[in-house]
Symmetry: C2
DNA sequence: CTACACCATGTAAATCAATAACATAATGCG
DNA sequence: CGCATTATGTTATTGATTTACATGGTGTAG
């Protein structure tokens, strides 16, 4: 785990009081720490150098230098992260801004996501008798992508974007079945209706959502929110889509790893089937 | 410009001989520099500390510390980048590995992609009378995603994953039309056939591909290759898919920025149309 | 061809930051 | 209430980075 900020957040409770002051200081302005000496940070945190050092050690780092280096790495590597794309931007600038926003979204998702929920979701999916992925519009693409991965695991899967198909299919589910509802806003009427129908049947509902508090998050058994500051611009939800796909990748791999022997066989079969389609 | 390695490469010719030795050393193993003291680097480069320092200054950096920090930032931020997911991995480890692989893929795509090609592709797409996105299997998802973005720009678009629809549709194209062919392997027969048909009509072919030298790349007018070391594991092409989506995001934004006034109106209309679908 | 000058590079010394060792203050428990 | 233990700060040491200076080489002009 190289995500230093996430590591600090997780370690917070196990820290001494004055070390906590250091942690707060680092979290509030990591950028500054990279530029500061240990003396400066100690002063800013209202404590002493050895305390800062002890803080580093407790994080599992060798020393203060390592903290700086480690922070420098996990920090957005660019000046223009949250800067919007402008009309006069060159293609190089646009590429830089967009791809950095994407990278940033993934970084944030990694550091913010609730691992217990992730674990629980993987467990549910691994035992599922049947998985249905629901998504509308842009999220339909995420749903399809998820379907395209999970069917390889030998679990009956389907992705539905048609709301009618969703409710009809949802009505036929039961305990042991899992619905993965994908939504950027978490307030799309159609999805919410489909989920409500599925819920009544006793199926487990997992949400892959773009925002923390939404109507949909409240009716999911497990709600996974990706970080979506939807940075670079307001053109279309791009970064959150990428983050959602990434989260489903993680779930897919986690499920695949539950019984890797069997998975490997199936994946090989899938691969072999495709050979004839290529030159 | 935070891309320190790029900066070093560009500065190479303006350097003194012994400074060049330092530069070579840094370029050959930047990772090591982050962990080294100035003395170690000087020794490795067969020169002295002050030379290393002068090298830093010539790069516009304050000192050796800044070089280390700066390198740490521009380097891929993970230890386990190319490490495979293992069966016994915890969910936290899996998430770390997968998301880092994704981030890595985006970073590499950003640093490797040919900006002239990207520019040319954006220009073609911006002037296109009609855009068709072709992709099979996993790439069909990328094609759909692209369609889902580009149609907002008011350009007639379609995504086809059915090979029959592809060839039929391709046969009806002509000069001024653009085909975006998406393929991970670049050797899928169906796509290649569709592209060949489209080519004969005089349509422009843009390829968004996973590998550099493939049959498909040879018959594209513009071939954009994403970096796809398909890091974490062999389960399914995940990182390259993400990178392909990211590249299409960049193209979408670049095209959108060509006439931002008109684009903004259209995007607003799209957004307004969705309002009634939400709570 | 030689000598002077300047530029590149290395050596040695000084400074400053990072860490270790130690001392003191605070807190908890018997 | 006092002792013990732990948290924190002070001082000292070490080791890194940087500066100042000296040497050696190279190019040019006399």
């Amino acid at each position: 785990m190289r995500d230093t900020l996430g590591l600090i957040r997780k370690s917070l409770k196990g820290l001494r009081n004055s070390e906590k002051k250091v942690a707060k200081c680092v979290l509030s302005d990591p950028e500054a720490v990279v530029r500061s000496s240990i003396t400066e940070l100690a002063e800013k945190a209202g404590t002493s150098e050895p305390t800062v050092l002890r803080f580093c050690r407790r994080l599992g780092l060798g020393g203060y230098m390592e903290l700086r280096l480690s922070l420098a790495r996990s920090l957005p590597s660019s000046d223009y992260i949250f800067e919007n794309v402008r009309e006069k931007d060159s293609i190089a600038e646009i590429a830089g801004k967009i791809l950095n926003a994407h990278r940033e979204a993934i970084t944030h998702t990694l550091s913010r996501i609730n691992l217990d929920d992730l674990e629980a979701a993987a467990s549910e999916l691994g035992q599922a008798r049947r998985i249905e992925f629901y998504g509308q519009g842009g999220s339909a693409i995420v749903a399809r992508d998820a379907h395209h991965k999970f069917f390889r695991l030998g679990i009956p899967c389907i992705a539905h974007d048609d709301p009618h198909m969703q409710v009809m299919s949802a009505a036929l589910l039961g305990p042991g079945d899992v619905v993965v509802s994908i939504s950027h806003t978490g307030s799309t009427k159609d999805i919410i209706e489909s989920v409500q129908v599925a819920r009544k049947t006793g199926a487990t509902i997992i949400g892959v959502l773009g925002s923390e508090n939404s109507p949909l998050s409240k009716i999911c058994d497990i709600a996974l929110s990706v970080c979506s500051r939807e940075a670079a611009l307001r053109l279309a939800p791009m970064t959150s889509r990428l983050a959602q796909i990434a989260v489903l990748d993680v779930l897919f791999v986690a499920v695949a790893m539950r019984d890797f022997g069997a998975t490997r066989d199936r994946l090989d079969k899938v691969k072999m089937a495709l050979v004839g389609k290529r030159y």
